[in-house]
C-alpha cells in the first residue's frame, strides 16, 4: 500500500483526502500557497510545504514546485484532488516519470476525455448516446452558424478543453451564436490555452445527471449510482442529490451501463464521473463529458453506499483490491449536498473576506466537508467554495428536513454566503417536489 501521500490541492478537498489518508495510516504532505498558510488543510497534514505566491499559476498550477515538494518530503504518491492539475495529462506523466504513484486514471485516459470533441466522437463510436453536435473544432463564427443550421437552434457553445461552465453559453439564433462564439473563444484561450470550440444541441428542459464510476485494478469498471446535479448557477453546480428524483430504475440501468461502457472504452482506473444530459420531455439521455478525477459532489455517493471513494482511489492506485465486494453494494436512503459558497445569495457575486464566526451543524446524517474555520481569510484567488454541507436520510423527505435544519443552524459570519439561497431552495415547491430541471435556480432568482 501507499505509505506517504502528497495532496496537490487546497481547501476542503485537500482536507478531505488528507483525512482518509490519515485514517489509513498514510503519512500526509500538504502543499499550500502564501494565501492558504492558515487554512485547516495546511495545518492538519503531517508536513506542509509552501509552494509559492497566491495566484494559482505560481503555486497550485506550478508543476515543478509541486514535484520538488514531493521529492523534498519523500512522498510516494500524489493525489491531485479536483480542478488545478487533476486533469492535466502532462503533469500525471511527469509525476509518474519522477517515480511517483499518480492517484488518478492513466494519463492517456485523461487526455482522451480532456478534449470534449474527441471524447464525444469516441463515445459515439462506442455506442454511448451523444447529443447532435460538431465532430470537429469550429474555427470561426461563420462555420458556427453553418453548423447550427444542421444541428438546429437552440445550440450550446462550449470550449473543447473547458470545464466549470466557463465560456459556455446557449444561442437561439445567428446573432446570439456569433456573440456566444466570440465569448467562448476568448475564454477558451485564456482559461484553457486552447481555442477549440464545439457546438451541441441545447436541450431546453434538461436534468444534469452523472454516474460515479470506479475502474478497478483488474480492469473492470463499476458504476456506483447516479447524482442529480441540475441545480446550477452560471452552469456551475450549487446542490446535488442521489438518487435523482428524475431517474426511474429502468433509466438508471441504462445510465449505469453507458457509464461503465464509457470507462471501459478508455481503460479507466480509479474514480471518475460520466456526465449525461437527460431530456425531460423525450426521456433521451446524452453523454456530456467524463471527469477523470474525484468529483466535488462525491460525498453523497459515499453517504448512500457507505464506500469511502478516496480510500478506493488510493487502493486502486497501489494496484490493490477495493475494500468492498462489488456485488454487495447497497444503496441506502437519500443524500443531498449543498455547496456553501462565499457569494451573495441573490446575485451570486463573489464575496471574499475574513471569517469571524464559523459554527457547523451537527447531528444524525450530517456531514460537513469544510475548507475553512473561524479566523481564516477567504481570498479572491480561488473558487468560492467554503464547505459542502452533506445530508443523509432514510428517504428524501427526511434528508430535506435534516437539510433545512442544518442550513438554519450553520453559522458563518464576516462575509456573505449563499446559505440563504439554500434555505429558499429547500423550501421551494419546485425543488422539494423533485420535479425540477437545470432552470431551477433562475426560477428562484429571476
Amino acid at each position: 500500500m501507499i505509505e506517504s501521500l502528497l495532496v496537490a490541492n487546497r481547501g476542503e478537498i485537500a482536507r478531505r483526502v488528507l483525512a482518509t489518508a490519515r485514517r489509513m495510516g498514510i503519512r500526509t504532505v500538504a502543499v499550500y500557497s502564501e494565501a492558504d498558510a492558515d487554512l485547516p488543510f495546511a495545518r492538519e497534514a503531517d508536513e506542509a510545504v509552501l509552494i509559492g505566491p497566491p495566484p494559482p499559476a505560481r503555486s497550485y498550477l506550478d508543476q515543478a514546485a509541486i514535484l520538488d515538494a514531493a521529492r523534498g518530503t519523500g512522498a510516494q504518491a500524489i493525489h491531485p484532488g479536483y480542478g488545478f492539475l487533476s486533469e492535466n495529462a502532462g503533469f500525471a506523466r511527469q509525476a509518474e516519470a519522477a517515480g511517483l504513484i499518480w492517484v488518478g486514471p492513466p494519463p492517456a485516459a485523461i487526455e482522451q476525455m480532456g478534449d470534449k470533441i474527441s471524447a464525444r466522437n469516441m463515445m459515439a463510436a462506442a455506442g454511448v448516446p451523444v447529443a447532435a453536435g460538431t465532430p470537429e473544432p469550429v474555427t470561426d463564427a461563420a462555420s458556427a452558424v453553418a453548423a447550427a443550421a444542421v444541428i438546429g437552434y437552440p445550440v450550446m457553445v462550449k470550449a473543447a478543453a473547458g470545464g466549470g461552465g466557463i465560456g459556455m453559453s446557449a444561442a437561439a439564433d445567428d446573432a446570439e451564436l456569433r456573440a456566444a462564439f466570440e465569448t467562448a473563444r476568448s475564454r477558451a484561450e485564456r482559461f484553457f490555452a486552447s481555442p477549440d470550440i464545439l457546438l451541441e444541441r441545447y436541450v431546453t428542459a434538461a436534468r444534469h445527471v452523472e454516474v460515479q464510476i470506479l475502474g478497478l485494478a483488474s480492469g473492470r469498471v463499476l458504476a456506483l449510482g447516479e447524482r442529480d446535479c441540475s441545480v446550477q448557477r452560471r452552469h456551475q453546480k450549487v446542490a446535488e442529490e442521489t438518487p435523482s428524483p428524475g431517474v426511474t430504475p429502468e433509466l438508471r440501468g441504462r445510465l449505469q451501463a453507458a457509464a461503465a461502457r464509457a470507462g471501459q472504452v478508455v481503460g479507466y482506473r480509479g474514480a471518475g464521473t460520466v456526465e449525461f444530459l437527460l431530456d425531460v420531455d423525450s426521456g433521451e439521455v446524452m453523454f456530456l463529458e467524463m471527469n477523470t478525477r474525484l468529483q466535488v459532489e462525491h460525498p453523497i455517493t459515499e453517504l448512500v453506499t457507505g464506500i469511502d471513494l478516496v480510500e478506493q482511489q488510493l487502493r486502486i492506485a497501489a494496484g490493490a483490491d477495493v475494500s468492498f465486494q462489488p456485488e454487495d453494494v447497497q444503496y441506502r436512503g437519500h443524500a443531498l449536498e449543498l455547496r456553501v459558497y462565499a457569494e451573495d445569495p441573490r446575485r451570486f457575486l463573489p464575496s471574499p473576506g475574513t471569517i469571524t464566526e464559523w459554527a457547523e451543524p451537527a447531528g444524525p446524517g450530517i456531514r460537513v466537508d469544510a475548507g475553512y474555520a473561524a479566523g481564516n481569510q477567504v481570498t479572491p484567488f480561488y473558487d468560492p467554495l467554503l464547505a459542502k454541507l452533506c445530508v443523509h436520510g432514510t428517504d428524501r423527505d427526511q434528508a430535506l428536513r435534516r437539510a433545512r435544519d442544518a442550513v438554519a443552524s450553520f453559522r458563518i459570519a464576516g462575509l456573505k454566503t449563499n446559505l440563504p439561497f439554500h434555505a429558499d431552495l429547500l423550501d421551494s415547491g419546485v425543488f422539494s417536489g423533485g420535479d425540477y430541471d437545470t432552470s431551477v435556480v433562475s426560477r428562484l432568482r429571476p
Binding site: G164, L349, P350, P352, G353, T379, P380
Partner: protein
C-alpha cells in the same frame, strides 16, 4: 458599481469587492458612454466587468492590470 459625485457630473467608480484587476479596457482621456466597460475584475474565478455609470471622460484611472483592489478602492473617475 460606483458612487455618484455630489454635483452629478463627477462619478467615482469604486470596487464592490476584493478582486484582482484582470483587464484594463479604458485609458485616461477616453470618452465613454454610460455602461461602457472600464475595467474587468476577477474574483473567485469569476470575471466582473466594471461599468461607467454615466457618459463622460475618464479623467483618472487608478488601477493597472495585476493590481489587487479592496472593497471601496477607487478604480476610475468619469466626469
Amino acid at each position: 458599481m460606483g458612487i455618484e459625485g455630489e454635483d452629478g457630473h463627477v462619478a467615482e467608480v469604486r470596487a464592490e469587492m476584493v478582486a484582482n484587476v484582470w483587464k484594463v479596457v479604458t485609458v485616461e482621456g477616453e470618452q465613454v458612454s454610460a455602461d461602457a466597460t472600464l475595467v474587468i475584475l476577477e474574483s473567485m474565478k469569476m470575471e466582473i466587468p466594471v461599468l461607467a455609470e454615466q457618459p463622460g471622460t475618464v479623467t483618472k484611472l487608478a488601477v493597472a492590470e495585476g493590481d489587487v483592489v479592496q472593497e471601496g478602492d477607487l478604480i476610475a473617475i468619469v466626469e
